[in-house]
Symmetry: C2
Subunit: 265 residues, 2 copies
Amino acid sequence: MVAVASNLRPEAIRARCRDAQFCAKTSGLAAGYVQCNVVILPSDVASYFQTFCQRNPKPCPLLAMSPQPGDPSLPDLGNDIDIRTDVPRYRIWRDGKLSAQTEDIADLWQSDWTAFALGCSFSFEEALLDAGIEIRNITEDVNVPMYRTNMPCAGSGPFQGNMVVSMRPLPAADAIRAIQICSRFPSVHGAPVHLGDPRQIGIDDIASPDFGDPVSIRPHDIPVFWACGVTPQVALEAARLPLAITHEPGHMLVTDLKNAELAIL
Amino acid sequence: MVAVASNLRPEAIRARCRDAQFCAKTSGLAAGYVQCNVVILPSDVASYFQTFCQRNPKPCPLLAMSPQPGDPSLPDLGNDIDIRTDVPRYRIWRDGKLSAQTEDIADLWQSDWTAFALGCSFSFEEALLDAGIEIRNITEDVNVPMYRTNMPCAGSGPFQGNMVVSMRPLPAADAIRAIQICSRFPSVHGAPVHLGDPRQIGIDDIASPDFGDPVSIRPHDIPVFWACGVTPQVALEAARLPLAITHEPGHMLVTDLKNAELAIL
């Protein structure tokens, strides 16, 4: 793992990914710029996945996709993006199982592949921090806790499954403010999908997240739940595709899009 | 009490108030039009009250006031309004105590009096109902439950006191949606001020409201609390003014302003 300066601009971070100088987590890098979840699929399932995103915009907010199959650029997110090299670290999935982690997929890339870039919670976390709201996973310097729920996604072809949510404990006044702020950003998960009792959405033990790390919940906190970008990864696993690529969690595609550009109001 | 047809337009309702044909509650009347809380004060305290509203816009959203002391019109809310006669029923307060209820204050009106018209929860309740959200006090056909809290208002001269809140129990998804919808309407109390544990804001027994009626709270409901227009009435009582006038709760000034006009986005 090689770190980079936090004030590097997105294109400089991508250049360092491209020549293998950088392969670490992107949290806190390129402040103000949108970072993306990435899913790369062969053509026989890509249109099903596109529809899965369209039908489930809160967990799967599709920001951009390959202009055409086999084209590794993502011009909507940056002029120079090459999705085969510009993500710090990739996961290779075979038959629905994690098969390898790598810093480059140039050798694997096929002429019928489509890349999907999905909005990520880093964008709304920045907006919440800017508003003076404390975000527990950032305060405690851990990954946000994430949970499988009983809330079904709308299915599309092989892509099925329940929504995964991330949880941030907030005092009531901050929870209300967070709903207002996140409502401005529908393309990065938008407003929370639930708050209060975790059991109502099928979470039995809030102290034991299915992904990420537990965080402290203080006496006056309300657990607030957002649709999470791990949802498509879970749907991908369930689809048991012969081959699929995603980013390694936390190792996001850093784009030239500004978070502020995503605000709808 | 004389009822009127629910499809009467605001000016027709006011005309019937004016000639004493109507003196009942206005809930459900003139759908789509703004109804107001009313406070009428002599000049020595009026500017303090104006500042109290300015400093506490959530409980005291000032929509309009007399163009000048002694002028009984409210041209911002309707061309023909005469605040001395156009409210269905008034309360007369002497030394901070309810002294009388009446349908007309023309004989009491003084040349230095100022009338204040404040936004009312009927406006946001309409927006919530339009969005398909069930409002318990409407379903159960009772007055909304209201509670004294431990949240202090910013004081102004003789006007001091804690905020009064109204409570509507909502399932989590509706609570989130209600926060979004009410955020569009800051001039009628705006977004909720609290949700979840009532004790955090000094409410010991949710089943025993200080004003209005209790409502059912179902297993998946979260209590959601809005700043309430009874707050200024409580501040008025505490001020122990020799003389003050308000509307009788539920008997609102019906205006020509449309609720939709109040939406800020």
